[in-house]
């Protein structure tokens, strides 16, 4: 068995907790409940969340514009704040901040390539998320930041995003594109006529001259932001490796989700980042009774009377008993499936070191209000089963 994960100690000892996991595993909810737990422990915490469900957002006071930290109404010794990490045109804002002057900024905004594909720029949402974390660290005022990460095809994109953009701007391909010109030079078209470089010829053939010119112009304008990006990227990397930062892997007790956890863990270890443990959400408890449901004759009589006491009631009582048995069997099977998946994952992970684990029982409903968050915080505090 994996050791238990002590989340109380974690919220009291760390400055940044990053929750990662694939989509739909309850990452956002876990981050919110962890924030409640921190506040209950007297820690001033900020939960930086992404796209919460409507009622969860309401519970956290984020139903209006939540792009700035909002106080969460909560009776606890610590202060809990929450903010949204997502904002449309967030990339514009970043360009705005990093552009050395108005001319460069306008050149970027005006570039056709940027206009049409800027949202597709590898991991821009992720980059912006990390930006806001840096800002919050710089501003201070919180003892703990709890960061929800964007759901993405590869949930670790947010770690790679700054480096990818730096590698785009720093890459030898880009320098090759930019070399013949200074920032002032604008006649990219000559690049193709002058250059005998096979690589450029290939790219030109592949993409057509116009796209190449646009892209080249885009990179040229963007290169003015390069120092800013590189600097930020290094800051993000340093922050993620800081001893006061840790990662929590959130998952569902299902084979596919647990396999994702394995992939994340390997990647994070490879990057020398600290994994505090894993949270398995929506684990089904065993029903309170033996696996085979055995109702008594008194139970049957009780059902028959409740259903009217006549012949039709007897038939209906049999239907009810069959349904109770079905549901009982399903509940046991779900419990068995969850347990088997978790045990198999723990056995698989043994080679690379087991992760401390916390299982959160299924509440049987979508977590919506503050009452649910308080219940979840209680479950995060206490080990389960137990």
């Amino acid at each position: 068995m994996n050791g238990p994960l002590d989340l109380v100690r974690l919220v009291k000892s760390r400055r940044i907790i990053v929750c990662c996991g694939s989509g739909g595993v309850g990452k956002t909810t876990s981050a919110a409940a962890l924030g409640v737990l921190a506040a209950q422990e007297g820690v001033n915490a900020l939960v930086m969340t992404i796209d919460p469900a409507r009622r969860l957002a309401q519970a956290m006071g984020l139903d209006a514009l939540g792009h700035l930290p909002q106080n969460v109404a909560l009776d606890a010794p610590g202060r809990l704040s929450a903010m949204m990490l997502d904002s449309k045109r967030a990339f514009d804002r970043l360009v705005d901040q990093l552009a050395p002057d108005a001319r460069v900024r306008e050149a970027i905004f005006a570039n056709r390539y940027y206009q049409q594909i800027s949202t597709a720029l590898g991991g821009s949402r992720e980059l912006v998320a990390m930006e806001r974390v840096l800002e919050a660290v710089a501003e201070g005022g919180y003892q703990l930041l709890i960061v929800d990460t964007p759901p993405s095809q590869h949930a670790l994109d947010f770690l790679d995003a700054p480096a990818r953009i730096v590698s785009l701007l720093d890459g030898s391909m880009t320098s090759m594109l930019l070399r013949p010109y200074g920032i002032a030079a604008r006649a990219q078209f000559r690049l193709f006529q002058q250059s005998s470089n096979a690589a450029l010829k290939f790219f030109e053939r592949l993409t057509g001259v116009q796209m190449f010119a646009d892209l080249s112009e885009f990179l040229l304008a963007f290169s003015g932001l390069f120092d800013g990006f590189r600097e930020r990227s290094h800051q993000v990397q340093a922050l993620m490796r800081d001893p006061a930062t840790c990662f929590l892997l959130v998952c569902a007790p299902e084979p596919a989700s647990l396999r994702q956890v394995d992939l994340f863990a390997a990647r994070l270890r490879g990057d020398r980042m600290d994994i505090a443990g894993m949270i398995a959400n929506r684990v089904h408890r065993a029903p309170e009774g033996p696996a085979a449901l055995e109702l008594t004759s008194a139970d049957t009589a009780l059902l028959e009377v409740a259903l009217g006491g006549d012949g039709a009631a007897r038939a209906q009582a049999r239907l009810v008993q069959a349904q109770l048995t079905n549901v009982w069997d399903d509940a046991w099977n779900q419990h068995r499936a969850n347990t088997a998946a978790l045990d198999a994952a723990a056995a698989d992970a043994r080679g690379q070191g087991e992760l401390p684990r916390r299982e959160i029982p299924d509440l049987g409903r979508a977590v919506s209000g503050m009452a649910d968050l308080l219940a979840l915080a209680g479950l995060l505090r206490r080990p389960y089963p137990g």
Binding site: S22, G23, G24, A53, R54, R55, Y113, Q116, I117, T119, A120, L121, G122, P151, Q153, I165, S167, L168, G171, S172, M173, A198, F202, R205, L206, T207, G208, V209, Q210, M211, D214, P255, A256, S257, R259, L263, P287, E288, G289, L293, E294, L295, T296, D299, L302, L303, A306, L307, Q323, L324, T325, N326, V327, W328, D330, A331, A337, A341, G364, R365
Partner: protein
């Protein structure tokens, strides 16, 4: 319900992360193959080395799974290498360059490039190779929007050249309601339903694609009508009730609540008048891909005109 037609050579299966897209896409591919179509199930590049439900490795080249059924993974670099080799004059000469670190770095970061290359591969499989149908296990909402935007954006940005033509052909395929059909998967929960609605709006109104029905995965139906349940649900409080009945009613109440919450969560889809196809929640004591797929196949059979 309008079933998938044999002319639909590209089926895009999408939805919020975690709703079971891969499982449903796998089932649709199996059903297509069973209906006589040479089918390839394509997943977007993933770090998984094996397919999660079919016991085969995931490779760029289609791997045979069963009669008329193959599985492949798209990968932007491999697609590009393929493209360069088969499409460019003296393509072989560029192989070394395309495989070089310099180029990989560039392609990884160049906006829209990955997406276009992946779409190019889908086009290649759906139109140019001898498959009758590509079932695309597509990425979640945000990424799908990008994926759909890219061919149009590239076509506008690139006025001439081979990429312009490729982007144009891909766009034509995606927007052709006779050839491409979108299926949106969801769970009966608030956020996935919201995303499903957004996806329908995006694909149907935004791109005028052929869409539907919404696939509602892991649906729980309570086996008793509300009136009957109302009369028995609180019998556990009676002194005659055995501990077993008490516990069973508790578990059943949980299930009843779940079924109701699901019905409520699906309201927005009903109000929008969208047809739905439900895939019942499958509960097995141990994960067993074959049994799971058999159950999902049965639920999805009406898509291909079969009996539910």
């Amino acid at each position: 319900m309008r079933p998938l037609r044999p002319t639909h050579s590209l089926i895009v299966v999408t939805g919020k992360g975690g709703v079971g897209k891969s499982l449903l896409a796998t089932s649709i591919a199996r059903l297509s193959a069973a209906a006589g179509l040479r089918t390839v199930l394509v997943t977007l590049d993933t770090r998984d080395v094996r397919h999660p439900f079919l016991d085969v490795p995931l490779e760029y080249r289609p791997v045979a799974v069963a009669e008329r059924l193959w599985v492949a993974r798209t990968d932007p670099y491999e697609s590009l290498v393929d493209y360069a080799r088969t499409r460019m004059p003296f393509g072989g000469l560029y192989q070394g360059f395309v495989r070089s670190r310099v180029f990989r770095d560039f392609a990884a970061a160049a906006p829209g490039f990955d997406e276009l290359m992946c779409l190019g591969r889908l086009y290649n499989l759906a139109v140019e190779r001898d498959f009758d149908r590509v079932v695309f296990d597509a990425p979640a909402t945000g990424h799908l929007r990008t994926l759909l935007d890219v061919p149009v954006a590239v076509q506008r940005a690139v006025q001439v050249g081979p990429l312009h033509h490729v982007a144009g052909r891909i766009r034509d395929l995606l927007l052709d309601v006779e050839r491409t059909h979108v299926l949106i998967a969801t769970l009966a929960e608030e956020l996935p339903v919201q995303e499903a609605l957004e996806l329908v709006a995006l694909c149907r109104e935004g791109f005028r694609m052929s869409v539907g029905p919404v696939l509602v995965n892991r649906r729980v139906r309570f086996g008793l009508d509300a009136g009957t349940w109302e009369r028995v649900h609180d019998l556990g409080a009676r002194p005659q009730a055995s501990p077993a009945l008490r516990a069973a009613l508790l578990v059943a109440a949980h299930e009843f609540g779940l079924a109701q919450a699901q019905a409520e969560a699906l309201q927005p889809l009903e109000q929008a008048g969208l047809p739905m196809l439900e895939i019942p929640r499958v509960v097995e004591p141990v994960f067993d891909a074959a049994r799971l797929l058999a159950r999902v196949d049965a639920a999805l059979a009406p898509l291909l005109g079969g009996a539910p």
